[in-house]
Amino acid sequence: MLKVGIVGCGKIADAHVSQIQRIKSCKICGVCDQEPLMAGQLFERAVVERCFDDVREMLRQAKPDVIHITTPPQSHFEIGKICLESGCHIYVEKPFTVNEDDARALISMATERGLKITVGHDEQFCHAARRMRELVRTGYLGDRAVHMESYYCYELDSSGYTGALLGDKNHWVRALPGRWLHNIISHGIARIAEFMKDDFPSVTAHGYVSPLLRSMGEKEIVDELRVIISEGQCTSAYFTFSSQMRPAIRQFRIYGSANGMILDQDQETLIMLRGEKYKSYLEKFVPPVLIAKQYIHNLCLNVRSFGANDFHMKSGMKYLTESFYKSIKDEAAVPIPYREIILTAKIMDDIFQQLNTPRSDGRVSPTQFAESKMRV
């Protein structure tokens, strides 16, 4: 039985606890937070063995096999390093680290020690995403992915996390190189990275502070982002992050040389797009029927999963965690290849570098743009 520890007892740690506890072959041997009250509250609500306010103490006393790091991203590298040095495998919440260099260093450290790492891109393991991966594996797309579109939207409201972020100029999210985007977009970027073949794709980013945020006096938080990612003359991708567009979709579209697919994260649906067209008027009548049939099939799958008690909001996290534990026990491949983790970090670095650098063509950066609007 794997012994699991959790470092960081904030909001996302609750999801980790509830999903880990659904996995039979493991137990949570300790939770840790540098704020003892936070560790205590999770200890009290979850059935765990012990709580700690020092990660080294937890490693020494509880002797976990795996550590889930659910702290703010700035601490991922340091805590990850401590855990790896004590011989623990680590599951690091997204974003993996604050930059590509740290990501590479952490992965090297794990590889040298024969330990395993994964990152919390759990949305790539929801039911529909797993179905999509299986179809890609069987060659449904054709010989390669030609183009991808990843939409990752987020509805801003003044309560909860967003309210805290907007109201607190010292919020830890603001200290990240990509600020708010840094804490959110990795799910959407990782979807693209999964199907990129080149390790050094070109990235062109355009971002700005939305009129809504500007009207609230915000000039640092970029909440609208458009990115073009391309590798050689083969594969391209668009990434869209928006807090303003409606519906606020989280969707991934992938088009191959033969067929395409649309994955909707919120509706948990996967629609297959037939590459060949029907003749003449048939194209206007047959595909709508076939797509309607697919939606009904998706509905049935969702209902069946719910009935089978396997449709939790964070079910992707359970599958990712389970696969990760299996890779540890069976010494098999990790569920998320390290190349993909590094590529995601690299693309994010490129995006934030462009957003934070004054543009050479004389156009203003998003932050400068917001500041000029504020002055007006």
Binding site: C9, G10, K11, M38, Q41, R45, G160
Partner: protein, 290 residues
């Protein structure tokens, strides 16, 4: 008057805010929406920081902690249907499925612990459901609209409203009145409307919508079913409806404000009829400006 802007999660800010202060009204709280850690962090950790800071300052005469009716279990009460200051608090708030309840119970416990161990003088006030201009939400004690139709669950229950001005008067008095350290006061207005009366008035004065009444015995059974399914399914449906919550929100209960009237001399300055009127007008204005 000096206004300090800070974050109660920062001990340094708490030190600044409490330096040479003899009376603290602690009204900050984190609702946390559905997140237990968020609510806990913004209610309990912040309260601990503030209490620790008062010890450094060393000149505190009273810490007025603003709590909530949410901390009461509303089961096994001394006076059967009546909820008052002697009613027991929720002993297992983590089972209520309500982050706010969990945080407020722990916040009160924190204040009591600092009083017991470090001698911090305190008064706890527990307002009912505060209404006033600016608040548009219908209390969950009346019903819920989570399922596309408004489910009226309150029926003939009295809703423990307190108008914001009346509540503020009571909180101020709790800080000023001598000889009440260590006491708890519930704040609830007189002439409370029943849930049905409130809903009728709301529909008449704010907006019309369809509501569906669920009798208490049915709502209790549905809460039981939801709770059981949530447990069996390992949280596929979150345990937001459960029997503890039913007891707290929808069980037929009367409310007493005798203690606060007697000990603090508090009287609701704005009568209920006018309070509701102002609340409804505020709701209409918000709807028009939306």
């Amino acid at each position: 008057m000096a206004i300090l802007k800070g974050n109660l999660q920062s001990f340094a800010d708490c030190l600044d805010a409490t330096a040479n202060v003899t009376l603290i009204y602690h009204l900050a709280a984190g609702a946390g929406e559905k997140s237990f850690p968020d609510a806990f962090m913004n209610s309990v950790v912040t309260t601990r920081n503030l209490l620790e800071a008062t010890l450094v300052s060393g000149c505190l005469k009273r810490f007025v902690n603003v709590s909530s009716f949410a901390v009461y279990t509303n089961q096994r009460k001394l006076h059967w249907r009546q909820l008052d200051e002697e009613s027991p608090m929720e002993s297992h708030p983590e089972q209520r499925g309500d982050a706010y309840c969990f945080a407020k119970v722990k916040q009160d416990a924190m204040v009591l612990e600092y009083s017991r161990q470090r001698g911090v003088p305190y008064v706890i006030v527990r307002p009912g459901y505060v209404i006033g201009p600016g608040k548009t939400k219908i209390s969950g004690r009346v019903g819920i609209d989570s399922f596309g139709v408004f489910l009226h669950l309150g029926g003939q229950n009295r809703i423990p409203f307190v108008y914001v001005d009346n509540c503020a008067d009571a909180v101020v008095l709790a800080g000023m009145m001598p000889g009440v350290n260590g006491e708890v006061f519930n704040i609830v207005d007189d002439d409370l409307p029943t849930s049905r009366q409130f809903l009728r008035l709301y529909k008449k004065k704010v907006r019309r919508f369809h509501s569906f009444y669920i009798p208490h015995i049915i709502s209790y059974f549905l809460c039981y079913l939801w709770e059981s399914y949530s447990r069996w399914s390992e949280g596929q449906l979150p345990p937001v409806f459960n029997r503890k919550e039913w007891h707290s929100a929808w069980k037929k209960t009367s409310y007493s404000n005798e203690k606060i009237k007697m000990r603090l001399g508090w009287r609701p300055r704005v009568p209920m009829e006018e309070a509701l009127d102002r609340y409804f007008k505020g709701c209409c204005q918000r709807r028009e400006s939306a």
